[in-house]
């Protein structure tokens, strides 16, 4: 009966706190949409071109033309072909009109031919080919805006290197054919298109058949759901501090019943909140994200395992909130400590940056973050279509964390009160 009364009281207090409800439900939804959109745009801008390039072809031969065709084919860039001096090109890039300018110097193709020809001749004559000491490398100049991210620059340089290698091979084959023709009098049939004997097939390594495709939504929804759930620390701790400040906690402590009853009812109400947050985030992933052009969230084929993961993560977040609310004494303390600690735990847990890409020492440290445990479980479901067997480890540690934090909260409250 006491639990029921306390539960109803907590629920009423929560439902009547409109700004608190906005923080709990609207903010995480806004956050997941904005971050998914931003991340997807970044990925799209990396993958799907639209990098403005100024292309100056002073060569006007095979290399210049072929590089242009290659860059256009890749669909990564918006190419503006122009005849400008290097100085003007530099000026335009510096002004931000173009992210990058590629300048192919005059006679570049000729220079390649001149370098390749003696090499081919040496093959037929049996002479020992040695590169001349005055060998000058062909230089293709790439001017980039200093604000352009290195990933963009590397994408372009890597594309140019690929196409240049193809063209060098083509020139080499052409000279080889000319030499053969001179020797045999027969003109060899040359295919202008390069032979692409190797094909790359990318496939995700699933243990079993699944229709899930890892994408930004499958990564973002669980990550930001965990983050939002843990942000419950702030209202929950605030609620506890408010209770202490206005004296109702004092009254409760003079009544029959234990602090555990108070914590249990808070846990039940806030579990309802975290689970509602969780459902809302899933709905956002399924209904809203596709409406704004992002991939739809696929929840896999184990809804009960997913619900179980949601409950375990919610409990861990609540346990942390109860502990913060017990340790801190003022709203300022709980606000700062709560938010900063959640941000640190989120960073360690791989919400912003994948753990596998972290330095080795950080990967070791990340084990302490409950967000990491939760995220691992969600990834099992969202990215590998895992079931109960795959998430049981994550669920166990999350629940142990919850039990430990509640135990610590009760202990610390007693110490604070009785050790005055």
């Amino acid at each position: 009966m006491k639990f029921r009364a306390s539960f109803i009281k907590e629920l009423l207090v929560l439902l009547r706190d409109i700004p608190g409800l906005i923080v709990l439900f609207i903010m995480p939804i806004a956050m997941i949409i904005v971050i998914s959109l931003v991340q997807d745009t970044t990925i799209q801008s990396l993958k799907g071109s639209k990098i403005d390039i100024l292309y100056i072809d002073n060569d006007e031969d095979i290399l210049g033309t072929s590089l242009l065709t290659g860059l256009q084919k890749s669909e990564l860039f918006n190419i503006d072909k122009n005849k400008l001096s290097e100085k003007d090109a530099k000026h335009k890039v510096a002004k931000g009109e173009y992210r990058i300018a590629v300048i192919i110097p005059e006679g570049t193709t000729d220079l390649i031919r001149k370098q390749i020809k003696p090499y081919i001749t040496s093959i037929f004559t049996g002479e020992n080919y040695k590169q001349k000491k005055d060998f000058t490398k062909t230089q293709i100049k790439i001017l980039s805006d200093p604000t352009t991210k290195s990933t963009f620059r590397h994408t372009i340089i890597s594309s140019l290197e690929t196409y240049t290698a193809k063209i060098e091979t083509q020139i080499l084959l052409k000279i080889l054919a000319e030499n053969l023709e001179q020797m045999t009098g027969v003109k060899p049939e040359m295919n202008e298109e390069p032979i692409e004997a190797v094909e790359f097939i990318e496939e995700f390594a699933f243990e079993k058949e699944t229709k899930i495709t890892p994408n930004s939504t499958q990564h973002n929804v669980p990550a930001w759901t965990m983050f939002a759930m843990f942000f419950i620390v702030i209202p929950l701790a605030g609620n506890m501090i408010q209770e202490r400040n206005d004296g109702s906690f004092f009254r409760l402590m003079t009544m029959p019943g234990s602090y555990l009853t108070v914590l249990t009812s808070k846990t039940a109400v806030y579990l309802l909140v975290t689970f509602t947050q969780f459902i809302l985030m899933l709905l956002v992933g399924i209904l809203i994200l596709p409406a704004v052009g992002l991939p739809v969230l696929k929840i896999g084929s184990h809804p009960f395992a997913l619900a179980f993961m949601g409950i375990a993560s919610g409990l861990a977040a609540i346990g942390f909130g109860l502990l913060v609310g017990t340790i801190t004494n003022t709203h300022e303390q709980s606000g700062v400590f709560g938010s900063v600690s959640v941000i640190i735990l989120a960073a360690l847990g791989g919400v912003w940056y994948p753990i596998y890409a972290m330095p080795h020492i950080m990967q070791k440290i990340s084990i302490i973050s409950p967000l990491n445990w939760g995220l691992s479980g969600f990834y099992e479901i969202f990215l590998k279509d895992g079931g109960f067997a795959q998430i049981i480890g994550s669920v166990t540690v999350l629940i142990i964390f919850f039990v430990m934090t509640v135990f610590l909260s009760v202990l610390i409250e007693k110490i604070k009160r009785f050790n005055k």
């Binding site: 006491k2 009364a5 009547r16 206005d246 009254r251 009544m255």
Partner: protein, 244 residues
Amino acid sequence: MIKIENLTKIYKGNSEPAVNNISLSVSKGEIFGLLGTNGAGKTTTFSMLCGLFPPTTGNVFINNLSVRSHISEIKKNIGVVPQNIALYPTLTGKENLMFFGKMYGLRKNTLKERINHSMIAFGIEKHADKKIKNYSGGMKRRINLIAGILHEPDVLLLDEPAVGIDAHSRLDIMDQLKKINKMGTTIIYTSHYLEEAENLCTDIAIIDEGKIISKGKPDKLIQENNCDNLESLFFKLTDKKHID
């Protein structure tokens, strides 16, 4: 009924005791006033009486049960009215009372009946469904008091129950306390309103700097010290020109 034996409290980090070796007893049916200035040790004594934290030395017995070892049983038989408005501001008066009543283990029907009766007695029945944050100071004090008496305790502990409210509301509360006392409830209350204490209390103790400097029946103490009233007695004994 209530026995305080050599009660001392020294807060951590303090060398001076907040409550210094006080002893007194309160018989059943008394209204006992613990009077003193702010910082005299009233609230510390009050907190130890209701088991919020243990004394450094000494003990308190309520119905022969020690607060050190039987606090759970004691809590069932005491009602506590803290100095702060210990209520949830976003809940209505009725919702607050329903919650605290249920925390005392009262059944729904009994509780509803007692809430209605108390609200009528305190003249706030029309405001039962208003949120506490919209109550006046006097109304908040009344609900704060009702929350401590719903379970009809043997002992009612009140810490400055009428602080910061108008004279009319204060008189109302005092009248109600007398009625509660007549029904058999022993009352211990702390206050620095000396006139109020003189009218209400059957026995008093004056506490200053953690020590009891005088105790007994108010009339007798006033007479023995050749004073006109409790206020002049208080000033004489504490050597203070005013009370905070």
